[in-house]
Amino acid sequence: MAKARATWPLIAIGLAVIGVWYVGAILLNGPQVREQAAEDMGFRDFVVQTWSMERPVLPAPHQIVTELAQSLFTHSVTSPRNLLHHAWVTASAALSGLGIALALGLMLAAGIVHIPVLDRSLMPWLIASQTVPVLAIAPMVVVVLGNLGITGLLPKAAIAGYLAFFPITVGMVKGLRAADPLQIDLLRTYDARPWQVFSLLRFPASLSFLFPNLRVAMTLALVGAIVAELPTGAQAGLGARLLAGSYYGQTIQIWAALLMAAGTSMLGLAAVSLIEALVAQRRGGRL
């Protein structure tokens, strides 16, 4: 019910944002149009001009959508002019990174929960690792690995994974500890082995913590993959499009790539929600 009630306000705010955007495009592009155009120009012409410049300061929404549609539908999917191709390059790196992060996060969390020394010694450093701007290390990792002859997917996936493992680890540590103490005691009376407690009790209990953190990790992995494409002048990928657009002043191209990134992120989040729903269904409707 809450979702249905949010629809109208959301539409209203969305329309307001688009309206402000058009007005902003007039204000920001105005000076440039006035500079280039003839002396006497009607207000109508002036407004239309600000909304249809080739390299506007702020492109109007319809320009971005047109650019996006043109890129998506007029070129074949494998062509480097199609944004889907770039989105896939970035998304595949982000997904591989997410896989690495999941494996690493699960291992670390299981270790922290089961070995007290690790809990005391490792946990503070994990938290500290989050306060470090890990993205700052990204270009160096890419450059150094590139010099060793490792290019392409792997460096990007490594950075995406490094960003994404933290929320997964923290969420899983919390989740693996969220098992009901009474049930743990019960399993102890059954003389269950530690791995049985893990697979029967701790892991299922952690799933409800895993999925919200998986969403955060998904976004972070995408950000990591995009940023990893910046330093080496990668040929393909959304980050490469952003960089190329900023070099040549192609603002519409930048915004289209941004919109594509947002769409990719939404798609990833939707996929996580879908998996969550499927898992919940298998387990009787709730996590």
């Binding site: 306000p9 005391r120 500290a128 306060t131 290390i137 160096m140 995408l222 947002a262 992120s265």
Partner: protein, 308 residues
Amino acid sequence: MKRAPLFWAALGLIAALLARWFIGVDKISATIAAAAIAALALFRAMVGFARSEGWFARLATPAIFGFLLLWLWEMLVIGFAIPFVLLPPPLAIARAFVTHLALLAQDFTQTYLHAVITGYTLGCGAGFLVALAIDRSPFLKRGLLPMGNMISAMPIVGIAPIMVMWFGFDWPSKAAVVVVMTFFPMLVNTTAGLAEAGAMESDLMQTYAASYGTTLLKLRLPAALPHIFTALKLNSTLALIGAVVAEFFGTPILGMGFRISTEAAKMNLDLVWATITVAALAGSLSFGALALLERLITFWHPSFRGSS
């Protein structure tokens, strides 16, 4: 028994330093012996501290772990002759840190003191004020909150090239990226926090005939503080990331992001790592300071009661 971990820690420290010295003068067997003693002693000290209570043991366990990591890094890099361009040893990084201190300080001023602090203050302030402004309108709240959540889930650093185009190469463009990155987490968290005040307390305020402003100041803002601090801590990390990444898109010849990307291309890896150390210190210290402030101000919150 209580002093045992301390003894092991001291022994391990001395053996570790000896091992580092031996490996420097190419005495292989002595290195291996000292390293074995150091590893064993440090590990025993860590286990010992992990089992005992008190603030010193709580600090000592991760400290020894960190030292162990750095020492292993140093020994392995030197022992296996890993090329400098791949991974410089920590001591070389420390040396670069000291030699280039003036340069690093300039970068720090440009990126942190100018871009991050300005952007962080403006972004968090704006997010807080907008949350207060839309507080009285359920319609705006229902529309803006899902949008805020949606935008928080997007790779916002992507707006960096646009901001560089709008505000120029110098630090204002980086501050603008930071403003956008910090605004939405603050907005969403403050709004969630303002809804936190209990119904009982709100009813009580009503029986006092308290005005909207009084209720806000005496009840709802204090109740919102834990959420606000969550946003402040999250944003302190986001702000640094935003400023550094924005510098990859163009900057005057200054700044931590600029230093990292140019020196990495020139293979001056020790300077790159020194800059990363500065960033890590700045990030950890600001996060720690905020966490401390949170403890002092929201000492009444259940997550702090009972601890300390």
